[in-house]
Symmetry: C2
Subunit: 200 residues, 2 copies
DNA sequence: CTCCGTATATGACAGTCGTCATAATAGACC
DNA sequence: GGTCTATTATGACGACTGTCATATACGGAG
């Protein structure tokens, strides 16, 4: 999650995502977001007239697009693509970050928004659902491109993202990447076995 | 999650877990907990001198014990146990609740506590890790009892819980149990295939 | 220079939070 | 009855929060 040096508006959305994934939505104040983004506090109302809800939704949106973009980059960088290798790349992003920078940066912003506002702010819930969808589609498409039958591509993508999100959660709680490495290893045979259709 | 009619103290812990899993830790006020538990507000300080942190930790603890107890009950009620059937029972608990009572009750309290305080309150993070551990152990033991090799039992249990937690997250965001049913179906062959040791 | 829309600054507002101090009540035991 | 402890009641405190109203600076167009 490199910080692009764009305008103050984009910086605030980016900072919001970072703070949300670390502290949760409720614990992230708008003043904190402005400070973290080195943006003037007076601009908050100007760029986000919808208030905190709009800011959070845009942060979730950003996270979903970011995740989708990562999938595309993983694919492009993979000489011999396979489902298990794609999942390993997705998990490695978290394993590497936790290993090098520690666990302080937190987990997934979409997960945090879901936990914090799924039953409070309907628009944020919808944003989270959209983010998951935007993340699932490219994964499913990638699987299909690797020889996974069309009707199994999306279910398997959902399984991958579920397992990844859950493992991130456990890893954060344990302050240990064990869950992430375990899930990567245990899921691999199932994922690769799907590339050969049963009818073959 | 039936509400046992015990003393006010237990009721408050139980209510805290319920409110936390719905609104998150930060959005759950102590006044709300007392009101939800029909307990006097003045008792909060008396039973939980450690303040909100202690109350949250006990709620997380309760949730971990509850999850472990459910696993035992699932096993006892299963005529022909198998790993996939155990996972299906665990997922069905959520599918049934979402299907009958809707999504308003929220998700997993342990997940909520992890997302909300993993980087803020060290003791709560430890409580969440302990809860996950207390949940993983009986699952792993159950798998071993079904013929899963000892060294694969715990990794598979971690995979199961990861996939379940992630699917709960996605289901809440989408307000659709699709992720839960999908994960149950897709994970089944992998789980059952583990019951026969490769060396056979 | 004037004008004007974008952008920023600043402070106040009402509300809620966790915490605490204080005091009243209830019930058991001597 | 008196006494002690466990429990409950109540109100206040300071520190936040998101929101908003208002005022200032910038920077091109006329």
């Amino acid at each position: 999650m490199a910080g692009a040096e764009r305008g103050p508006r984009e910086r605030m959305v980016f900072s919001a995502a970072q703070l949300i994934r670390r502290d949760g939505v409720a614990a992230t104040g708008m003043r904190d977001v402005a400070a973290h983004a080195r943006a003037p506090r007076g601009s908050l109302r100007h760029y986000f007239p919808g208030g905190k809800e709009q800011l959070v939704n845009e942060a979730v949106d950003w996270a979903g697009r970011y995740a989708a973009g990562r999938v595309a980059r993983f694919l492009a960088a993979m000489p011999e693509p396979s489902p298990s290798r794609l999942f390993a790349a997705m998990a490695a992003q978290w394993i590497d970050e936790y290993g090098s920078a520690g666990f302080e940066a937190g987990g997934c912003p979409v997960a945090a928004a879901t936990v914090d506002c799924a039953d409070a702010a309907e628009s944020t819930r919808a944003a989270a659902a959209a983010a998951f969808a935007r993340w699932t589609v490219p994964v499913a498409r990638a699987l299909a491109g690797m020889g996974v039958p069309e009707e199994r591509a999306e279910p398997l993508a959902t399984l991958m993202i579920s397992a990844l999100e859950g493992a991130i959660l456990i890893a954060r709680a344990e302050r240990d990447v064990r869950a992430l490495t375990t899930v990567t290893r245990e899921l691999a045979p199932l994922l690769d076995a799907a590339t050969t259709p049963p009818r073959a």
